[in-house]
Symmetry: C2
């Protein structure tokens, strides 16, 4: 392919001013140890493949028809999972699409949106796309979120919980406080990784998900995804939970962009995933166990490891030279994520892999450390 000389003459001013999101790379090599985009190390529930195969075998003809525009069955399954009314549930083409619709539906151009300075890097992109101001509120020294720092006029607040790339968890008490102090703003809690925290916390008596607050707080909107805890990044399904009036705004916005974002197979597969609770809990627990082992091993190698509630860990090598570690690992086919940004450029975000992947990582880091000692000696 020849080098493209881009001519922006026919672009809209909006298109000219974009700084698009850059997803973590998806290299296609054999024997790669891919620990850079927080995918689940386990496959999805076998029920997912079975449900999709059943559609293909029994209703292949139906692919010629438009899918259910509001994904009714999937929303009903999610409503039942969380004991909600179906009109408190929205679904979309991955939580990225849901978040785009959230920015368009709730955030005003006249008042800014508040978000942590270190968080999901798509938030500033959405803000630019929809022309809203984003004020980034610095995390504390220990990377935690202080709700008091958000006490300023805004049209909304968006917080990833657990936050990425730190993995730290904000308490429901703090979220409730934010919602109470900003009763005329929408508080969006992006719970892409919450299931790993919720399964760890255990029973319903120990709620960590803000879904448990939406009946009390009409201004809390919670987004989640099938891409992490449900091992379905390849299927593109995300969801939002909130007061029925918030969900209605999202639905109207969806129907002003794209009426049928979820194809028939994705709807069937995602529904089957929701119904297989046992598999879900078992694989989440396995990821949590693997995270704990990985944390212990990295700590033994003198890495500082933040207390993660997600399926990744945020770690700092003793000398802070995270970039060099990432490069050395890449040479051995192990890909981790390094963000070349202020405050976090001495850290690496590492996805929790299978036991074999984690061992390969630890062995590589041990070898690296031995080489460094040999040079120093």
């Amino acid at each position: 392919m020849s080098e493209l000389k881009i001519d922006t003459r026919l672009w809209s001013s909006k298109a000219r001013n974009l700084s698009p999101y850059v997803p973590g790379e998806q290299p296609q090599h054999d024997n790669l140890c891919k620990l850079n985009t927080n995918e689940n190390p386990f496959p999805p529930s076998p029920k997912v493949g079975e449900a999709i195969t059943k559609v293909l075998e029994q209703q292949a003809d139906d692919l010629r028809l438009y899918p259910a525009p509001e994904s009714d069955d999937l929303r009903a399954a999610l409503a039942q999972l969380y004991d909600l009314d179906v009109n408190q549930v929205f679904v979309g083409n991955g939580s990225d699409e849901v978040l785009a619709l959230v920015f368009a539906s709730f955030f005003l151009k006249e008042r800014p949106v508040l978000a942590p300075d270190i968080s999901y890097s798509f938030y500033p992109v959405y803000a630019q796309t929809f022309g809203v101001d984003l004020i980034q509120i610095p995390l504390e020294e220990d990377f935690s979120i202080d709700p008091d720092a958000y006490r300023q006029p805004c049209s909304g607040i968006i917080i990833a919980n657990p936050n990425a790339p730190t993995g730290l968890l904000l308490s429901l008490a703090d979220i409730r406080k934010l919602a109470g102090e900003h009763s005329n703003s929408v508080i969006v809690i992006d719970e892409a990784y919450i299931d790993f925290a919720q399964v760890e916390a255990g029973s319903a008596d120990a709620q960590v998900s803000a879904v448990s607050l939406i009946n009390d707080c009409d201004n809390i909107l919670v987004t989640q995804t099938f891409s992490k805890s449900r091992s379905l990044a390849g299927l593109r399904v995300g969801m939002a939970f909130g007061n029925a009036s918030l969900i209605e705004a999202l639905t109207r916005m969806k129907n002003s962009f794209n009426s049928y974002p979820l194809d028939k197979l994705a709807q069937a597969g995602a529904t089957a995933s929701v119904l297989d609770t046992a598999y879900f809990e078992q694989t989440c627990q396995q990821v949590i166990d693997l995270r704990q082992s990985l944390t212990a091993e990295l700590t033994a190698l003198d890495y500082q490891v933040l207390p993660s509630h997600a399926n990744f860990i945020f770690v700092r090598p003793k000398d802070g030279n995270a970039s060099a570690v990432a490069s050395a690992l890449r040479e051995q086919g192990i890909i981790v994520r390094h963000f070349d940004k202020p405050r976090i450029n001495e850290y690496l975000r590492i996805t929790v892999g299978t036991a074999a992947q984690n061992n390969r990582l630890i062995e590589a880091l041990q070898a690296l450390q031995k080489n460094a000692e040999a040079v120093t000696d």
Copy 2:
């Protein structure tokens, strides 16, 4: 479900001002004769199901991974189909999503967009969503498009070709003329139904698709879909073809909304569909043949039938009482589309169905006519 009282207090001004698109209904009844949303009466190529099943059997584990963000294999197959470079091809979650990104990427707030007054009803919705003025240019008396009527300043023109709901085709000479007269505006040709016209026209010597113009005219962007001629409305895949700089704008806009709009299974299924040229041509030809029979039979029943180049026909009953005909058909489980709008409220848009569906429609209309005569007698 209780009646929802909508509270718009927390909505953005954008959300409050929307008039979302209302898709044709998707009723779920047995024995329904659904001729209202222009789906293909034939199932998709069997290769589609085979390709998806293969992914599920051989790479089910891969569903845990993000799909290829730029749908490389699918774009390569489409590029080969039309003898283009891959950077002249864009794909999205149905042509509705592609069109939304088109409005955001090319149409300016300072200058209006021009479209026919009778056309795809999502265009005014997109205009409102993205805050651009849409000027609707009246079709001629015979519902044809006069390119000279578009001679006014604009940031873009969008024309469905064949147009919906009329089914009429604009010539490539007219499209080239529009592009030449508006060299600083993007001319979007929405070819959702073009394959039925192209297969009818025959060989490559008789081009009717504007894809054949994009190497000559850097301001023509063509959108197409898998939902009609490829019988894959249930899979949600659409595409755009144009100069590489136009495609780059769409790609940047996509990556500012949602990086991964096409799931792994949709990519595999759509690619298999593109590669099965024989099935595609055969089913398109069957639809064309069925359209011709249906046209003849309706003409015999004294319906005025516009010369359609799509997989639907636009017809006027002799007395112009289209609404009554639609209601009478609905009572017998036959759903056709009636638009309660000026100029076209005496017409019905009827999707070409299977031979059996078309017979059922004709028999119902014959019975209706007999009843009317009996009443008159």
